[in-house]
Amino acid sequence: MKYLTDEMLNKYIDNELSAEENEIIIKILKNSTVDKTKFTELKKINEGLKKITPLKTSLNFTSDFMKRLRLITIRNKKQKRFIIFISSILVVPIIALSGIALYEVIKKSIVSAKEIPIIKDFSFNTSFITKGFENVFTPDKISFLGISLSLVIFILLFFLIEEIRKTKHRLSKIR
């Protein structure tokens, strides 16, 4: 005798069969004890599975995770600030060096432009810039510029160290 397959019975349980197929299954189940037993077993498994409960994580899972999340957030912020500080420390001397280079270029171009009458006008127009540069980069004032740059770097370093100290303090609080 041919019995119903588990697949058919599962589909019947899940209401995946057509009305006609359902009727056929019902008829077979009425007449076949083997199929009826199999159906009852599958139904009990299905009912049992509906009642299964999720496994439990450890009690401190959420608090441990949130602690980790806060730490990572703080670390990320700290890293960002560190990068900003480092880049600002690097950017200031770069700007200063670019200024010196620009000054040298302009100075040379003015010297050569004096020999060409047309560009003499240009040198006249830009003279206030070159004079400004000349004032800043005179041997006396270049040391003043160096002191100023050093001061800026020291101030930036102070903030950087202060930030590291604060972050360490925050981390120790979380732990």
């Binding site: 588990d6 697949e7 599962n10 589909k11 899940d14 995946e16 199999k38 077993e41 599958l42 009990k44 498994i45 299905n46 049992g48 599975l49 509906k50 009642k51 299964i52 409960t53 999720p54 496994l55 439990k56 994580t57 450890s58 899972f61 959420t62 441990d64 995770f65 949130m66 980790r68 999340l69 806060r70 990572i72 957030t73």
Partner: protein
Amino acid sequence: MKILSDIEIIESVKKGNQSDYALLVDRYKDKAFSLVKSIVRNDMEAEEILQDCFLKAYNSLKKFKGESKFSTWFYRIVYNTSLTRVSNKKRNIEFGMSSIDDFINLTAEDNIIKNDQNELSKTLTVIVGKLPGNYSTVISLFYLEEMSCEEICKVMDISLNNVKVMLHRARTALRKIVFENNYAEELL
């Protein structure tokens, strides 16, 4: 007290209320843990992976536009992360459709019934954990997360037909394990 929806919590977290994320963690941790455990089979590792999953989800919250349910989106992260971890460690676990028959012949030696859990649902939880990965995952998603077969397709990235076949095969396997090994008398 008003229970916040997933979307409301996500909006709050996006606004900078990081602590609200704990609500989502509490809501999904146990169910997601069952899903991870069905793949990695180790409590310690499962918790570690789950923490990484919550972290990934947190970092990607800006990308979550609410087009699908948060649960579907999150379980996809959980499923993929667990699979990646398993494949990285080159675990020799059965994860194919053909391997289910090997698990039907569970015997009393497996200590399934020799514990205090004498309710069908509790014992089923233990037996489900012993099914091959994909089957265990489908059962977890269908019965624990109460996902539809269509949602399970999206999470596992397989066809609807495959999901249904796996679900049916898993149930059949469980029926055979429980009833053919005479656990039923002790259980029911």
